[in-house]
Symmetry: C2
Subunit: 289 residues, 2 copies
């Protein structure tokens, strides 16, 4: 399963538009509330997320409806005053270890909860007029009491891709990455461009390599804080690299057999991405071709 | 060419991070400034956008760098005080006619400019603390002078898709659509889901049809105000429709030969989408299969 996918909850969008039904769900004694320590998950010995009841939460906790499982409401709690900046950085070793141990589908629930809580924490004011806004739509939006503007959680599309040339994949390493780690190139998609255009622009900016024939491979949510990763492969006609040293520390072409070997756990010229990152899925799919 | 793609400007991201070079570009007498009437384009008899010089703009116009063409800077101007709500609605017949007549690649430049100007107009305040923010990074971001938060233009991913069953495509029509118009279903991707999951969720919510095997087809920017349209086809095992009448007025299964005929201009049970919409590309690709 691709990392952070496989959420088994029914998102029950209709409840978001029905304040009475939502209030009833939030008061339901069977409702489960996700236990989080700031933005960090709590994980049981079974590799599953830990849930609690409303009784265990502060009185001012605001319910965010994650969805239903067999009719039973599942919530995350937004605690007013929570500061996203006080939460541990996304790549803390503790979180990395937790993610690697989560049962399938559990990381997807965590991803939705984390992205929403983090968004509320950093979007308490109206971008249109500056007034303090209120949570509404079951935690999936905010509304301005002053100018009536509605605000919805961001999802920021990111392209992540390998150029291929003569059976080799272009991998790069960012500054301050762990020793030996190389991965697919990546960057935010910008207003006014398609996925295919963003892939070509980012590869050329970072490595000087020009590509054509962009092929979509897969996607995943990436809750740091709220990206949609879109993984692609593109064909390069030339393998000359001109590194943008503001973006990358190094880049290299790696033959398919070597990528396959590294993914199989053998020693090679780079360390593979973690399995929950879509770069892992992307390299795995490309290595199969 | 897919609608709103094919922007030939070099986005010159490096200039966004180099205030001195950016200021020099904005003062360059050769620089071209996009003429807009609010958010509406001006289009010459050659089907191309109309450009002007800095001298024709108000003194308080703020430059947004669209990119370079043969080294010559191209800008859009953000006029402080511009109200996005005063601009004509996205589906005005005048704009539809203009888009249909634009030369290839021109709509892509317009899309980037429109999305950025509209975003600035509706995001003048810091979502984190409520203070008024300043444009920076050559018009590709805003920064808060109070809490130092940086804000970047939104790009909202939208999935647009057809379910297929036994050689037929599921098409729906929204409320208040022009008479006879049917198109692919569509909806915003939400935090914590992949493209594939969003496609399955939206189809099931709107039509009751369950799908598997989601296949990516193409993408396009859609500047109303700032979507990234991601077009897919998915396979349905059952063709029973349960309409969500809050979302759709009707839905129907259309055989491939009929889709092909309608796209070829023949009369049929529905009017085709306009060629600059990715629904047109999606139906065309599916009809070829």
């Amino acid at each position: 399963m691709i990392g952070f996918t496989g959420n088994t909850l029914d998102r029950a969008d209709d409840l978001r538009h029905d304040p009475a039904a939502f209030a009833a769900a939030a008061g339901d004694w069977r409702a489960r509330w996700l236990r989080l320590d700031g933005l960090m998950p709590e994980i049981g010995g079974d590799g599953r997320l830990v849930w609690t009841t409303l009784a265990d939460l502060p009185d001012d906790a605001v319910p965010i409806l994650l969805g239903l499982a067999e009719g039973r409401p599942h919530f995350a709690a937004f605690l007013p005053g929570f500061q996203a900046s006080s939460a541990p950085a996304m790549r803390s070793p503790a979180l990395m270890a937790m993610l690697a141990n989560l049962a399938p589908g559990e990381a997807a629930i965590y991803a939705a909860a984390r992205s929403l809580i983090d968004w509320h924490a950093r979007h308490g004011f109206c971008a249109n007029c500056g007034a303090a806004t209120d949570i509404y739509r079951a935690g999936w939006a905010r509304k301005c009491p002053s100018c009536a503007a509605e605000h919805f959680p961001r999802v920021d599309p990111v392209v992540i891709m390998i150029a291929e040339h003569d059976g080799r994949a272009l991998l790069g390493r960012g500054k301050n990455w762990p020793a030996g780690r190389y991965s697919a190139l990546a960057g935010f998609l910008q207003p006014g461009e398609s996925v295919e255009e963003a892939v070509a622009r980012e590869i050329e900016e970072e490595s000087g390599v020009r590509v054509r024939d962009v092929r979509y491979i897969a996607s995943q949510p990436w809750p740091f804080p709220s990206s949609l990763m879109i993984a692609c492969v593109a064909t390069a006609d030339d393998d000359a690299i001109t590194l943008d040293t503001n973006e990358l520390e190094d880049a290299m072409w790696v033959p398919r057999a070597m990528v396959r070997a590294v993914l199989a756990g053998e020693e090679g010229p780079f360390l593979p991405p973690p399995p929950y990152a879509i770069a892992y899925t992307l390299l795995t799919e490309w290595a199969k071709e």
